[in-house]
């Protein structure tokens, strides 16, 4: 395998793993129930969707696919982000 391809995949994996571990470090210890935190929640959702997009574009090779397919995957990312954010605040407002 050409070194550039292998290196690119390795970088993607390292970034994904680092983001996952950093998230853990930022979590408050919760032997007891945590307090609600909208900023943290929305940030986690957005960061998770960023991770998904890295998986899509690097591991699933969406960056090489036709524009219609890349567009659909990006559409899913956007729709999911909007839906989860709206659902979070909508549920609280109910």
């Amino acid at each position: 395998m050409p070194r550039t391809n292998d290196r690119r995949l390795a970088i993607a994996w390292l970034a994904l793993s680092a983001i996952t571990l950093i998230s853990l470090a930022l979590m408050p210890p919760h032997a007891h129930a945590a307090l609600p935190n909208a900023t943290l929640t929305i940030s986690v959702i957005l960061v998770s969707l960023l991770k998904v997009r890295i998986v899509l574009r690097e591991f699933m090779e969406v960056r090489h696919t036709p524009r219609w397919l890349a567009g659909f995957t990006d559409l899913w990312v956007v729709v999911t982000g909007v839906a989860l954010t709206a659902a979070y605040f909508g549920g609280i407002a109910m």
Partner: protein, 193 residues
Amino acid sequence: MSTATMAAEPAPSHVPGQSGMWFFILFEAFLFTSYFTVYMVCRGRDLEAYLASQVHLDIQVGVVNTLVLLVSSWSMARCVQSARGGDLSHALKQAALTAAFGVGFLVLKVGEWAVEIHRGFTFTLNDFSMFYYFLTGMHFLHLLIGFVFLGVVMTQLKRPTSRTQVLVETGATYWHMVDFLWIMIFALLYVIR
């Protein structure tokens, strides 16, 4: 390095694997988005109860599971690129690694469920526990199906045919879906407040 290994990058506008798998992936992704959305609405309506129940989950186990699936996705991607480059032996090793990591996730998940159930965190305990077992259970089913695809991938790599690359990419596409769905499930069940 042989010329064959220089072909690891796909051609521009290449659809990895069978197009039908991509339509399935997108359908499943939007379906899970609907599950996630319902969960978030219900969570918002009873936030304190959901947060109180969330303490039953061990975020460290969730992180380990996430890391395991991420590395399995990495090895699967390397499998695809090696196969495309003509190095089927290396591709097969990467596919075997992917399967091993998948088994690792499976064992951790079943163990986690066993501990949680033993401690009284059962499906019927409350709404959060219902969502937890539903989402992780649905994901688990998809993981099991993923092993079938891995089996096809490894068989193709051992006895290559004219369809080997297409089938390897198709199987890999499905496996990556299992990974990215877990990324979202982990965030929504274990991490968000």
